[in-house]
């Protein structure tokens, strides 16, 4: 019936959305519901954004020298941050030595950035990580190369947050890999042990592990031996992250078709050869994006060490707030460190999203 279509009167094609007006019509006012929503949201923004801008910038005090001057201002007191930024960023690390944690933080960020670039994805990356972690340890502790020794109880601020999360992921990754392999193993005892460990750790909050490290670990050790508080917290974080990494890697291992395992077996490869050369390279590629998400989660979770009294970024902000001369600027301090956390977490998770897209197209080809 070819004639049918021609009989019908031509319907005017829908006008394409062009220009600002067209864009507004299609994106903001396309239906009654949309119009109501747009008006509602505009009203909401109108009520909040000017007040927020006022507080953040327009009425804020950037240059006051005392708290009293700052309180006179209607808006935020950024002078507080200006006065306290060294304490917030570096904690109580000796003031004249603070270039060391700064350098350590730069090294850690550089390693993370390098790990994000695909051209560095080769076995040498592990070497780079070892070198960087070693350099950070030397810089922070000192005691060699003419650097003065600094107790780790004086470390703090942003470098400590970075150290806890990067060392955490660096040590948790191999452990998590072993746990994942153990959970997929044919040996019932090993499998059972791994399952119990993973489920136990994932079932309880990180705080309970941190408490465990701070009150139970000292009981486990023979008399006279003690591990310092920071190391104990680091161990708790590693043990915690390993369980989550194990589950993620297991997902990757399960995504590999059975034929790959059988192919490797038929070549006569041993278990470890099979894993190292055939299975893990494919499985790990699949799980890189979720692993990055685990890193972001871990970066945020390191703030929990506040509860056992370790001086990370959050705790140093609280310490800055405890100064009797500068009382009552907690919103400013929290907004400041929230921005720092946000910059790190947002950029890494954006990267993870981009990576997911790129790796996904690679697999479909």
């Amino acid at each position: 019936m070819p004639g049918r279509a021609a009989d019908r009167p031509d319907m005017a094609p829908q006008a394409p959305a062009m220009g600002v007006a067209g864009w507004c019509r299609s994106r903001l006012f396309s239906s009654p519901l949309n119009i109501v929503l747009t008006l509602l949201v505009t009203w909401l923004l109108f009520m909040t954004v000017p007040a927020l801008l006022d507080w953040l910038f327009l009425q804020a005090d950037f240059s006051a020298t005392t708290a009293a001057q700052c309180r006179a201002a209607q808006g935020a007191c950024w002078a507080f941050i200006a006065a306290k930024h060294r304490l917030i960023l570096f904690g109580v690390y000796p003031y004249d030595q603070q270039w060391r944690p700064l350098l350590a933080a730069v090294i850690l960020v550089a390693v993370i950035v390098c790990s994000c670039m695909r051209r560095f994805w080769r076995p040498a990356l592990a070497l780079l990580w070892s070198a960087a972690l070693l350099a950070v340890a030397v810089l922070m502790w000192g005691g060699v190369f003419g650097l003065a020794h600094v107790e780790d109880s004086r470390w703090g601020g942003l470098p400590l947050t970075l150290i806890l999360s990067t060392f955490g992921i660096a040590f948790a990754f191999p452990l998590g890999l072993l746990l994942a392999l153990g959970r997929r193993s044919d040996m019932p005892v090993i499998k059972a042990l791994c399952v119990v460990y993973i489920e136990l750790v994932r079932g309880v909050p990180l705080i309970s592990l941190l408490f465990m490290s701070s009150v139970m670990l000292p009981l486990f050790l023979p008399e006279g031996v003690s591990i310092d508080k920071l190391l104990r917290a680091q161990i708790a974080i590693i043990l915690f992250a390993a369980a989550y990494i194990a589950e993620t890697v297991r997902g990757g291992l399960q995504a590999i078709p059975k034929g790959q395992y059988e192919g490797a077996d038929s070549l006569g490869l041993s278990y470890w050869q099979k894993m190292r050369k055939i299975i893990l390279p494919q499985a790990l590629k699949v799980v890189i994006p979720p692993l990055v998400s685990i890193f972001v989660a871990l970066f945020k979770d390191t703030s929990l060490v506040v509860i056992i009294g370790i001086f990370d970024l959050t705790q140093s902000a609280k310490t800055a707030l405890a100064d009797a001369h500068w009382r009552g600027f907690s919103s400013e301090a929290y907004v400041f460190i929230a921005c720092i956390y946000f910059i790190f977490c947002f950029s890494i998770s954006r990267y993870s999203k981009a990576l997911e897209k790129r790796l996904d197209t690679g697999r479909r080809q």
Partner: protein
């Protein structure tokens, strides 16, 4: 053979490590004069707890105190899960909205809240309530009967003997809606006639409690809080700790739930929308009959883990002084030195809660998975 040897070796090593740790621990405990065991739960606690759902005084036992803590954890978790699910679903749908402003605003909310540590958010809300809000006399008054001050949030509540009757009426109404749903489905399968269940259900749900109220004949009082002296009387008061914890948990978790909902809806193939549209279904029925059943299958497992996360994250209460399980056990273990028992109690409680949530959600997941043919 080799496998056996490996396993024997591993068991041997772990056995040795455990034996070594246990012997050290026993030695250390003996040196500190701490007797192991749960006998301390029967002793008098001697510390006060700020808020409690059951009666508690410092003269009660440690066991009772821990019970109070557990109930407080459950209270904040249950309310948090319900509200965060609602808010998260709205945000997830809003992110997919065709309205540019709405989707961008929801996107900004999700990105900002997901990428700031929960603990920091809790500190922020707590500081905002206790430091920046005025005292009860100058309390903020956003809605009639709702007061927001540095003593927390005060809400109006319903009191009176009619409450029990109305609850009974509501229970009967819910049962009636369930029965009507089954009947409507059977009838539609047999005859093809559609029963307007949503409208009828709404009427039944409103009429049930109303009938209960009329049947009781007892007056129902709306208990509106008012300022008396330096504080409020009447209504229910949510403490600053509870308000800050609940706000933080809801805002943080709803951002994650929004992502779960968004990806669930997006996981349904575009063709399903088109097919549903070509059947002539309205947009609501399209969502309810075609899209949601498929999206739910994708949504339920990650949603479960968000619920578990919220419950586990409620333990951050200890940082702002809300007396949840971890906080109470922490006080107990500082007073008695029973570190191992305390940690065991925390772990056992969270594992029980986690496993129960998993079991419930797995049951639900299997139920909706059955739709697949």
């Amino acid at each position: 053979m080799r496998a056996l040897a490996y396993q024997a070796l591993l068991v041997g090593v772990i056995g040795f490590v455990v034996w070594y740790l246990v012997s050290n621990t026993l030695h250390n405990l003996a040196a500190r004069n701490i007797t192991t065991g749960f006998a301390f739960l029967g002793r008098e606690a001697g510390f006060a707890i700020g808020e409690s759902m059951i009666s508690y005084t410092p003269a009660d036992t440690y066991g009772r105190a821990i019970e109070v803590g557990l109930l407080n954890t459950l209270r904040v978790s249950v309310i948090g899960v319900v509200v965060a699910t609602g808010l998260g679903t709205v945000l997830g749908v809003a992110r997919l909205s065709r309205n540019w402003l709405v989707s961008r605003l929801a996107g900004a909310y999700v990105e900002v809240m997901r990428n700031i540590p929960l603990l920091l958010q809790l500190f922020f809300w707590y500081a905002l309530i206790t430091e920046s809000l005025p005292g009860p006399r100058q309390a903020r008054h956003p809605l009639p009967g709702v007061f927001l001050s540095n003593r927390g949030l005060v809400l109006p509540t319903l009191r009176g003997d009619a409450m029990d009757w109305m609850l009974a009426g509501l229970a009967i109404a819910i049962a009636a809606v369930v029965v009507a749903g089954h009947w409507a489905k059977k009838r539609q399968e047999a005859s093809g006639r559609v029963f307007p269940l949503a409208r009828a259900g709404a009427v039944i749900l409103v009429c049930g409690p109303l009938a209960g109220w009329l049947a009781s004949g007892a007056p129902l009082v709306l208990d509106v809080p008012h300022l008396a002296g330096f504080n409020f009387s009447g209504g229910i008061t949510l403490t600053p700790e509870f308000t800050a914890l609940l706000t933080g948990l809801i805002i943080y978790t709803s951002a994650f739930i929004a992502e779960v909902v968004r990806s669930g809806i997006q996981a349904v193939d575009q063709g399903q929308w088109e097919a549903a549209a070509s059947l002539g279904l309205s947009r609501v029925r399209m969502l309810r009959l075609v899209i949601l059943p498929q999206a739910l299958r994708v949504i339920v497992p990650p949603m479960t883990s968000q619920y578990l996360n919220l419950t586990k994250n409620s333990s951050l209460a200890v940082a702002i002084g809300y007396p949840d399980l971890v906080s109470v056990v922490n006080t107990t273990l500082n007073q008695t030195g029973q570190a191992i028992e305390g940690i065991l109690i925390i772990m056992a409680a969270y594992l029980t809660v986690s496993l129960s949530i998993s079991v419930c959600m797995n049951w639900y997941n299997r139920r909706i998975a059955l739709v697949e043919r």
